[in-house]
């Protein structure tokens, strides 16, 4: 019969509390250097970014390159809002929400081409979109043109980053376990067949792009308020490749994979800082290696719970094997 794997309250809540406790201890007792703390924040922030990318590139299975554009719009919207409207630090949630919503709005528009275009063509359209956003920002005087926005209040701290990450994980998980998430996976496998089992493909794509852009927008907003400045050059090809490396390294269609990918890549990038610009070569190189030897990434279409489940099953099986062999020897 079917063994139901229930969502354990314990299994979900306890890790969150442990991680929160570790973060609080690390920050409040200053157990790690500021630069390490910054890396931790990058990890959290880019995990949100990768979760967003994974909604479209992973679960929906569309090769989209729009994430740089989404991040730019979220970052700029948030920066403008904090400069002109939400100047107090308690308004930070509003700033994040504003950044996310603006990006989501643009995401909704970007979902329209995905109704018709497929594969390579859609990839080119989304690439075009990202580059349009970049050059638009480069030429818009109001946002400082190519100089970008400076002196943005540094509201982001580690609590905000990981609070948002928790929120992002919850949102993605809820969507994935609903009918919308199931229809995304169905469309990834066979769009025509899913239409012919009554799945509303347009709606599913719209939702995927909206959630994706929303999360990416929030990560952009966090980034701006972490660094205190932003410029269009941050949302070009490097950003696009960064996002892809993290998604493919961690694994498509996996929440765990998104976080693992972001973590590994951020640590790698920071440790290779001495290489200067040469470290970006590592990014492209790694992407090639992943595509050849690790096509599914580390956690492709798997979650941590699946891995734990498999390990448990392995051990219980070896145990039963042992008892059987003991019995037979008797």
């Amino acid at each position: 019969m079917i063994t139901k794997r229930k969502n354990h309250l314990l299994g979900d809540v306890i890790p969150v509390i442990i991680i929160a406790a570790i973060l609080i201890v690390l920050k409040e007792f200053k157990l790690i250097s500021t630069s390490r703390l910054l890396i931790l924040q990058y990890i959290g922030l880019y995990s949100i970014f990768v979760l967003g990318i994974n909604m479209v590139n992973g679960y929906l299975g569309i090769f989209s390159l729009a994430h740089a554009g989404f991040m730019a719009s979220g970052a700029y919207a948030a920066a403008i809002s904090s400069k002109y409207f939400f100047k107090e630090s308690w308004m930070f949630p509003l700033i994040l929400l504003f950044g996310g919503l603006i990006a989501m709005l643009i995401g909704l528009i970007m979902s329209i081409p995905s109704f018709k275009a497929k594969g390579d063509y859609l990839a080119i359209i989304t690439l075009g979109f990202s580059l349009i956003v970049q050059s638009f920002l480069q030429n818009w005087r109001f946002v400082g043109a190519s100089k970008g926005i400076n002196n943005v209040a540094k509201f982001t701290n580690i609590y905000w980053v990981y609070g948002c990450l928790l929120f992002a994980i919850i949102i993605v998980r809820k969507f994935i376990n609903s009918k919308y998430g199931r229809s995304l996976k169905a469309i990834r496998e066979d769009q025509v067949a899913s239409e012919l089992v009554s799945v509303d493909v347009k709606r599913a794509k719209t939702i995927a792009f909206a959630v994706s852009a929303f999360l990416i927008g929030i990560s952009g907003a966090l980034l701006v308020h972490l660094l205190g400045y932003t410029s269009p050059s941050a949302y070009g090809y490097t950003n696009i490749v960064d996002g892809l490396v993290m998604v493919y390294l961690g694994g498509m269609g996996s929440i765990t994979g998104s976080i693992v990918g972001a973590t590994l890549w951020q640590i790698l990038i920071q440790t290779l800082k001495n290489l200067g610009t040469w470290r970006w070569v590592v990014g492209g190189g790694l992407l090639c290696v992943i595509m050849i030897f690790l096509t599914n990434g580390i956690f492709g279409n798997k979650e941590l719970s699946d891995a734990i489940h498999a390990i448990r099953k392995y051990f219980s099986r070896s145990k039963t094997n042992k008892t059987i062999s003991e019995e037979t020897t008797k």
């Binding site: 019969m1 009918k179 199931r182 996976k185 012919l196 089992v197 799945v199």
Partner: protein, 260 residues
């Protein structure tokens, strides 16, 4: 037009450039029938299904479902409202579990919105429970319970065929379109399939349209048969009439000499 009919084609044409895949075909299917569509290769049988399920928009002519014109409706809408099909070459979601395959097909009958998902409302929980129960019931009915948690793509061919039918049933159809369900089956399996089709029809009060090459299936279970050739309607009638129709024999076997 026959008002009793659940599905009717009225002078439907479907051209692909110069190719006339369906050319001026009209027929009515009554409720509760098993309606067979036969014909040689390239006779336009599958195109009839494609037009009916909304993949193609007919070049001209009208298709009615419950006396409602459905030519221009999108496929997911048609499927969600009562006409569901299976495929000639099986098209399951291979990397999903069998249970998830069925759950995906419940899409149009799940009544919750995005807000219910975000807040995990009671309605969300109830609906998820409901579709899980319903999916398991269908699996049970199709003798597929053992496969529920397995990946659909890893299963044997016969099971995949049954899963496809189970998935189609999850859309709660009134009309079920079976596209060559007996392809690759031996006579014993076909007899089993015959029983299954009749059982499904009676259990779910369906009208079944079936495209098939296997005479063993068509002649035994169909109430009425449409014969097509080169996209045109050749004959329509009861299995016995079709069997003895000279034009049908000609299309299938070649010209019969009159003195024989």
């Amino acid at each position: 037009m026959n008002n009793e009919a659940i599905v009717s084609f009225k002078n439907v044409c479907m051209y692909f450039g110069g190719v006339k895949a369906i050319d001026d075909i009209s027929f009515d299917v009554d409720e509760g029938q098993v309606f067979g569509i036969i014909g040689p290769n390239g006779a336009g049988k599958t195109t009839i299904f494609n037009v009916l399920s909304g993949i193609y928009k007919p070049t001209s002519g009208d298709i009615y479902f419950h006396n409602r014109r459905i030519n221009n409706l999108p496929p997911n809408y048609i499927t969600g409202n009562g006409i569901t099909r299976t495929f000639q070459n099986i098209r399951l979601f291979e990397n999903q579990t069998v249970l998830d395959n069925l759950k995906i097909a419940h899409y149009s009958h799940i009544h919750y919105g995005i807000m219910d998902v975000i807040f995990t409302s009671n309605r969300f929980k109830k609906e998820e429970e409901r579709i899980e129960e319903e999916s398991l019931a269908i699996l049970d009915f199709m003798n597929l319970t053992a496969y529920a948690e397995q990946k659909a793509g890893a299963l044997p061919y016969g099971a995949q065929r049954r899963i496809e039918i189970a998935r189609a049933l999850s859309c709660k159809p009134e009309v079920l379109l079976l596209d060559e369900p007996a392809a690759g089956m031996n006579p014993v399996e076909i007899d089993e399939l015959n029983q299954l089709i009749l059982k499904i029809r009676n259990q779910f009060n369906l009208t079944v349209l079936v495209v098939e090459h296997q005479m063993r299936l068509v002649m035994e279970i169909c109430n009425e048969i449409l014969v097509t050739n080169f996209g045109r309607k050749l004959a329509i009638g009861k299995p016995n009439d079709i069997k003895n129709n000279p034009e049908v024999l000609e299309a299938y076997l070649g010209k019969v000499k009159s003195n024989e």
